[in-house]
């Protein structure tokens, strides 16, 4: 899903950059249905920093957050694969938590250089939802399943920021 670049806001924390995207709601649609079915859904985030030119990435951060929905308390749990996790959250709390824990370092960018940030979010098919096909031998169905997996199983959002300079951002 592509959203206009006004939807991605960049914030500076020392040498790191953090983003917020108030109009993006990735806990929706098919991933939300799966969460309400009690299965956990992994979301892969990628934050890419471009410097000087928009063609070549300067630095990139990749994080995975696993979200689940408490069937009795009707709240969400989110777990960063490296450490932090929170429970009892609303959907918007989960979205904010993920973005708050996603930073890319701008250290080393020459002063005055124009920069851009791109945020990509991908909802992965969770293991509980995986289907098993085990026909004997190579079968057409299993090959379609294998090679057709990414487009069928993932939902994707992508946002680009407007151009900015490090000096434009407040600490």
């Amino acid at each position: 899903m592509r959203v206009s670049n006004e939807d991605l806001y960049v914030q500076r924390v020392n040498d790191d950059l953090r983003v917020s995207a108030p109009r993006i709601h990735f806990l929706s649609g098919q991933p939300l249905t799966r969460l309400h079915d009690g299965v956990s859904v992994p979301f892969d985030f990628q934050l890419t920093l471009f410097s000087g030119t928009r063609e070549t990435p300067f630095r990139r951060t990749v994080e995975r957050f696993v979200v689940s929905y408490d069937l009795w308390e009707e709240t969400f749990k989110v777990a960063r694969t490296r450490g932090a996790r929170r429970t009892g959250l609303s959907a918007s709390d989960v979205e904010n938590f993920c973005l708050q824990n996603l930073t890319v370092s701008a250290a080393g960018v020459p002063p005055g250089n124009r920069m851009w940030v791109r945020l990509e979010i991908r909802a992965q098919d969770s293991p509980e939802g995986a289907s098993g096909i085990n026909d004997p031998g190579i079968s057409l169905t299993s090959l379609i399943e294998l090679f057709g997996r990414p487009p069928r199983n993932s939902q994707h959002w992508m946002l680009d920021s407007t151009a900015f300079r490090m000096e434009d951002l407040e600490h």
Binding site: D37, G38, V39, S40, P42, D44, R64, V66, V67, S68, Y69, D70, L71, W72, F76, K77, A79, T81, R85, T87, Q124, S126, P127, E128, G129, A130, S131, G132, I133, N134, D135, P136, G137, I138, S139, L140, T141, S142, E145, L146, R149
Partner: protein, 427 residues
């Protein structure tokens, strides 16, 4: 050098492809996801299998389901269970839904089997290269409509019999014919034969042994006596066109019967499986058969697995009373029996008696095996042969067992080492 090339190619398939297949996105494995699921603190109240219309689950799957009920929700175990059900009932997939239970702190699990109303698939049930026999390949298209399935296959097989048979077969199968315990199948086969030079020379002045083509129509009924035991009865009407021009066609019409037994015992440390079968084919003049014979064959295999170690012990024996056509005669020395030997060197015309056994040890992708066996005719003395071999097998995890397998086998006590090489899948 030729073998070395195949070894390198096979090793690439075995080592590289699984790595690629496994690199699909979950760097932390299923445990991270399992711990991350907030519902894992709830107790499973029940597990329902929805969409289960015309089949019953095996005892081992039912045990697996029972073991999860009453325990805390375990996403990884549920995923494994869903895959096992999908594999067993040959469904398109099984999805997992977790719902609130009847009381707080409890959840219900619903496994939805997605069969689809109709299904079309193309598969390659067998594909291999044998250094003595050459290529064997089979392709099959199957469409399933409810309980009915239709399939058509094209093949060229130089591995199973003393003849290379090529052609097509078509089959209709009906599950639950009047009862969940009865299945019906009707198979039609039309093959052209090619004979090995050794067989032609051995047939010599008696070419009526051989035929250039054969057709078979075979209706069968299978009765599922219990989860472990099945009995199949049918009729096989086979006609053969002789190699010699002007000779009339010959027929081998027989009644057939098979008893199959399968038992799986899953323990905390050891998993065991026993497969056994007995098959009889009896042809006589009352069925309009030119050949009059009775063919018996028994087969058994026991498998025991512990962690990555697995041992398989197999045995088969057979006897023919009367005069049977070539496709019924026994041979050893192919991709699954007496693997270090060339079947055309052992007995190019086959025999009426067979006994063979094999022991295979597997550790991960590695396998080592020992085969022993003999083929002989009534009144002759059996001369057992032995062979040993090593191999590699690889599973990508989406195609089934023995997806890729390559093996070298050597005959013992032959005086010289002439290895047999086999590579392929599903054999």
């Amino acid at each position: 050098m030729r073998y070395l090339r195949f070894l390198l190619l096979g090793a690439a398939c075995v080592f590289v492809l699984p790595a690629l297949a496994n690199n699909t996105g979950d760097p932390d494995g299923g445990n991270a996801v399992d711990e991350a699921n907030v519902n894992s603190r709830y107790t499973v109240e029940s597990i329902d299998v929805a969409g289960q219309h015309d089949y019953t689950l095996s005892q081992s799957l039912l045990q697996q389901i029972h073991s999860l009920v009453g325990a805390k929700l375990n996403s990884e175990a549920l995923t494994s269970l869903a895959r096992a059900i999908s594999r067993e009932v040959r469904a398109r997939g099984v999805s997992v839904r977790v719902l609130r239970g009847s009381e707080p702190e409890y959840v219900r699990v619903v496994l939805e089997v997605n069969e689809g109303h109709s299904r079309f698939d193309v598969s390659v049930p067998k594909f291999l290269w044998h250094s003595s026999e050459g290529w064997t390949a089979e392709g099959r298209a199957t469409t399933t409509l409810g309980n009915n399935s239709f399939s058509i296959g094209l093949l060229s097989n130089g591995d199973d019999l003393l003849e290379r048979y090529a052609g097509f077969n078509a089959a209709y199968q009906r599950r639950a014919l009047g009862s969940d315990k009865v299945n019906f199948a009707l198979t039609f086969e039309d093959y052209h034969e090619e004979w090995n030079r050794a067989t032609l020379e051995a047939a010599g002045s008696d070419p009526q042994f051989l035929y250039r083509s054969r057709r078979n129509v075979e209706p069968e009924l299978t009765f599922l006596v219990s989860r472990d035991l099945a009995f199949t009865a049918g009729v096989s009407m086979e006609s053969m066109q002789p190699e010699t021009a002007g000779e009339p066609d010959k027929s081998a019409n027989s009644v057939t019967g098979t008893v199959r037994y399968h038992k799986t015992i899953e323990g905390s440390a050891l998993n065991q499986a026993l497969d056994a079968s007995y098959n009889v084919r009896a042809a006589n003049r009352n069925l309009g058969s030119d050949f009059v014979y009775t063919r018996h064959k028994v087969k058994a295999q026991y498998t025991v697995a512990h962690n990555r170690h697995q041992v398989e012990v197999g045995f088969e024996g057979g006897a023919i009373v009367g005069t049977a056509p070539m496709f019924e005669r026994f041979a050893l020395g192919d991709s699954s029996t007496l693997r270090g030997w060339d079947k055309f060197n052992l007995d190019p015309l086959g025999a009426t008696r067979v006994a063979d056994g094999s022991v295979t040890y597997k550790y991960g992708m590695m396998r080592a095996f020992y085969d022993v066996g003999a083929v002989w005719d009534r009144g002759e003395r059996a001369e057992p042969k032995q062979s040993v071999g090593v191999g590699l097998e690889g599973n990508l995890g989406f195609l089934g067992h023995n997806e890729f397998l390559m093996a070298f086998a050597f005959p013992l006590n032959q005086g010289h080492l002439e290895p047999m090489f086999v590579a392929g899948m599903n054999f």
